[in-house]
C-alpha cells in the first residue's frame, strides 16, 4: 500500500521506553496518565551550591563505569529489547534493517579525569601533560571507545544485529524525532523494509547540568521537585533535565502485513526546518517552527484541520512555550484554541536527545488508547497562551491524527505527524 504521494506507508510495530517514571510502556503510560511526576532531587552527585538541584533521573538502571555514555547505552538497550520483543521481528540478534540512533554528545567526565590524574602520579597542579602521560600507558584503553560518539550505536548494532552502518546523530533536542525521520525516509525510498529508530539520553551529570544552568535554561524552583516543570504556565521558569530512551520498530505496511505483525500506529509525515537566527534562541517570527509543522502536515497528505492533538515540545522555558503556542496558532488558526495540546515534559522533564523518540512513543500510545496525558503543574494560566493544555488531569478522546513537535537548540526543528490507523 502507498500513501497519497505514492510512497510506502510506514507503520510502527514495536515500541519500547524507559523514563524516570519507569521501565517499559506500561509503567510509563500509567504514571503519565495518572499525572505523576518523575522529577526528583538529584542524588548521584553533590548539588550543594548549584542553582538547580533536581532532574528526571533514571536511577534504577546501573552503569559501569557510571557516566553519560554508558548510561545512555544501557537505557537504549532496554528500550530496544522491549520494542523488538513487541514487534517479533527478525531473529534474535538479527534485526532486518538499519539503525538510526540519537545519542547525546559524549565526553570524559570528572571521575575519569581524576582517575587519569591519580595514575599520572602528579601531586601538585595536574596538567594535561600528566593526563597524557597516564593515557599513554595503555591502562585506560577501554575508555577510548567508551567516549567516542559512535560507540553506543556500534555496541547495539553488534548485539541486535542491525544491517549496515548504524547512524548516530545529534540534532540537539530534536534528535529523537530526526532518528525517526531518517528511518521513515529510508523505508520510503525503498532502501529497507524495516528500521530501528532510537533516542537515548543519560546526561544528568554535573558538567551538563551546570552548562544548561549557565544558559539560564533550567528551572530553579527546586522545591518541590515535582512542581518545577510547568509548561505553558505563567510562572514557568525553565526546563528540567530528564533522562530516558525510546525505541521504535518502523516497517513498511506491506512488510508488516505480510508477516502478520500488529500495527501500533502510522508515521504519516515528517517536517524539518532549520533556524539560523541564533545558537539557542528561536527566530522571533517563529517561522522555522511554523514551516516544520506545516511541512509535516503536508507530508502526511493532511491539512491542519485534521490534527486532533498536539504532543507539545513544551519545555517549560518562557521562550519555547510562547513561541510554540504562537506557532501552533499560526498553523491551525482559531481552531487551535480547542485542539488539545499537552506536554509530557511536565512529568518526565526534558529528555533532551531522547525527547523526540520518547514523545513519539507516548503520542502513539495516546492515539491508540484514546487518552491524553495531561500537562501537570498548570495552576497559573499564561494569558499569552490561549490553549487547551489538558490541565493536570488526563482526558479521554477519540483521536485520528496527532502531531509531535521537537524544537532543538541550534535551530533544529523536527515535527512528526502520526495516524492511529492505516487509511484504507
Amino acid at each position: 500500500m502507498k500513501d497519497a504521494k505514492g510512497r510506502p506507508v510506514v507503520v510502527v510495530t514495536g515500541m519500547g521506553v524507559v523514563t524516570s517514571l519507569g521501565q517499559g510502556k506500561a509503567d510509563t503510560w500509567s504514571a503519565l496518565t495518572a499525572g505523576t511526576s518523575g522529577i526528583r532531587q538529584i542524588s548521584r552527585f553533590p548539588t550543594a551550591g548549584l542553582k538547580t538541584t533536581i532532574a528526571g533521573t533514571v536511577d534504577f538502571v546501573p552503569a559501569e563505569p557510571f557516566c553519560a555514555a554508558q548510561l545512555s547505552e544501557n537505557f537504549a538497550r532496554l528500550a530496544v529489547d522491549e520494542a523488538i520483543s513487541e514487534a517479533k521481528i527478525g531473529t534474535k540478534g538479527a534485526f532486518p534493517g538499519p539503525m538510526f540512533i540519537a545519542v547525546p554528545p559524549v565526553e570524559m567526565e570528572w571521575p575519569q579525569r581524576e582517575a587519569l590524574a591519580r595514575a599520572s602520579g602528579a601531586t601538585e597542579a595536574v596538567t594535561y601533560a600528566d593526563l597524557l602521560r597516564a593515557a599513554d600507558t595503555g591502562q585506560f584503553k577501554d575508555w577510548h571507545n567508551l567516549f567516542l560518539f559512535g560507540t553506543v550505536a556500534d555496541r547495539l548494532a553488534d548485539e541486535f544485529g542491525t544491517q549496515g552502518s548504524p547512524i548516530s546523530l545529534s540534532t540537539a533536542c530534536s534528535s529523537g524525532a530526526t532518528a525517526i525521520q531518517l528511518g521513515v525516509e529510508a523505508i520510503r525510498r525503498g532502501e529497507t523494509e524495516a528500521a530501528l529508530c532510537i533516542g537515548t539520553d543519560g546526561s544528568v551529570q554535573a558538567e551538563a547540568l551546570i552548562r544548561f544552568s549557565l544558559l539560564s535554561a533550567l528551572s530553579t524552583q527546586n522545591d518541590p521537585p515535582e512542581g518545577a516543570s510547568k509548561p505553558f504556565s505563567k510562572n514557568r521558569d525553565g526546563f528540567v533535565m530528564g533522562e530516558g530512551a525510546a525505541a521504535l520498530v518502523l516497517e513498511s505496511y506491506e512488510s508488516a502485513k505480510a508477516r502478520g505483525a500488529q500495527v501500533l500506529g502510522v508515521i504519516a509525515g515528517c517536517g524539518e526546518k532549520g533556524d539560523g537566527f541564533h545558537r539557542t534562541r528561536t527566530s522571533p517570527d517563529g517561522m522555522p517552527a511554523i514551516l516544520a509543522m506545516r511541512g509535516a502536515i503536508e507530508d502526511a497528505g493532511l491539512t491542519p484541520d485534521d490534527i486532533d492533538y498536539v504532543n507539545a515540545h513544551g519545555t517549560s522555558t518562557p521562550e519555547n512555550d510562547k513561541m510554540e503556542s504562537f506557532g501552533c496558532m499560526t498553523v491551525m488558526g482559531e481552531r487551535m484554541k480547542s485542539v488539545p495540546i499537552s506536554s509530557n515534559k511536565s512529568m518526565i522533564g526534558h529528555t533532551l536527545t531522547a525527547a523526540g523518540a520518547v514523545e513519539a512513543v507516548v503520542t502513539l500510545l495516546t492515539l491508540r488508547n484514546g487518552r491524553i496525558p495531561p500537562t501537570i503543574n498548570y495552576t497559573i494560566p499564561d494569558p499569552a497562551i490561549p490553549l487547551d493544555v489538558v490541565p493536570n488531569v488526563a482526558r479521554d478522546a477519540s483521536l485520528r491524527y496527532a502531531m509531535s513537535n521537537s524544537f532543538g537548540f541550534g535551530g533544529q526543528n523536527t515535527v512528526l505527524v502520526f495516524a492511529r490507523e492505516v487509511k484504507a
Partner: protein, 222 residues
C-alpha cells in the same frame, strides 16, 4: 556512526535522498578541531597516536598511528537537473557512496573494501584513489592491499586525520583533482607515484580508526 563514519554516512544519506527525490540540494560535510588537549587525550588512551616525527601515512611502520588534524570540508550536492536549471557549474559527478561496518578482525577491512568496490559502479578511464587511511597498523596495510593498481594520494599525509571531516575532504580533493586535471603531487618520501594524464575517475576511501568503511566514486563532469 560517529567519527570517520559520520562523514561517510552523511554523504551517503544526502546522496540517496537526492536520488530518491527527497531533496534537491544538500550541504554536507564535517569539521573537527584537533587542537584541544581533550582530543589528544581520547586518542592517546586508545593508543592510536604516532609519537615519532612526521612520516607519510604509508611510511609509519616504525611507529604506526595517526596525527590528528584540524579542518572542515563541506560539499554542495545537488540533483543534476536542478543544478543545470539554475545554470550552476558542475564540478564533478558523484556516482555512488558505499558505507558499511565490519566486525573488526584481521582481514575484515580488506574484505569490506573489496565488497564496497564491487557495490559501486565500475570506474573507467584514468582512475585514481584519494585514500583517507589513518596510518594505524594493520588496517592501513589492509586498505592499501585492497586498492586497485592506480595512483593513490593519502589525504592524512597532507592534512592529518580530521575524523568526521576526512571523507568529505577526500571527496573535495578528488573533485578539485578532476576539475583541475591533476592530482596533488606525490608526497615526499611516500610510495605515491606520478599520475599520467588527467584523472577521469577517483575513488575516495575511509577506514575508521575503530570501525566503519566507506567508499565513494567521483567522476569528471564532462
Amino acid at each position: 556512526m560517529g567519527e570517520e563514519q559520520a562523514g561517510v554516512d552523511a554523504v551517503r544519506i544526502a546522496f540517496e535522498r537526492i536520488r530518491a527525490g527527497q531533496g534537491d540540494a544538500f550541504l554536507v560535510g564535517g569539521s573537527y578541531n584537533a587542537e584541544r588537549a581533550d582530543a589528544l587525550l581520547i586518542y592517546a588512551m586508545g593508543g592510536f597516536l604516532r609519537h615519532a616525527p612526521f612520516a607519510p601515512v604509508d611510511q609509519r611502520a616504525d611507529d604506526p598511528g595517526l596525527y590528528l588534524g584540524s579542518g572542515g570540508a563541506f560539499l554542495v550536492l545537488e540533483a543534476r537537473e536542478t543544478a543545470e536549471a539554475r545554470g550552476a557549474s558542475i564540478l564533478a559527478v558523484l556516482k555512488g557512496v558505499d558505507s558499511r561496518r565490519s566486525r573488526r578482525v584481521p582481514g575484515s577491512v580488506g574484505a569490506a573494501l573489496g565488497e564496497a568496490f564491487k557495490a559501486l559502479p565500475a570506474a573507467s578511464g584514468r582512475v585514481a584513489v584519494m585514500s583517507g587511511a589513518t596510518g594505524i597498523a594493520g588496517i592501513t596495510n589492509e586498505e592499501i592491499a585492497a586498492l586497485p593498481a592506480v595512483p593513490v594520494r593519502f589525504t592524512a599525509s597532507r592534512l592529518g586525520h580530521m575524523t568526521e571531516a576526512q571523507f568529505p575532504a577526500g571527496i573535495a580533493l578528488a573533485v578539485e583533482s578532476l576539475r583541475s586535471g591533476a592530482l596533488p603531487a606525490p608526497a615526499a618520501g611516500s610510495s605515491e607515484t606520478e599520475a599520467e594524464g588527467e584523472p577521469e575517475a577517483i575513488y575516495v576511501t575511509s577506514v575508521g580508526h575503530m570501525r566503519g568503511e566507506g567508499l565513494a566514486l567521483v567522476v569528471r563532469a564532462h
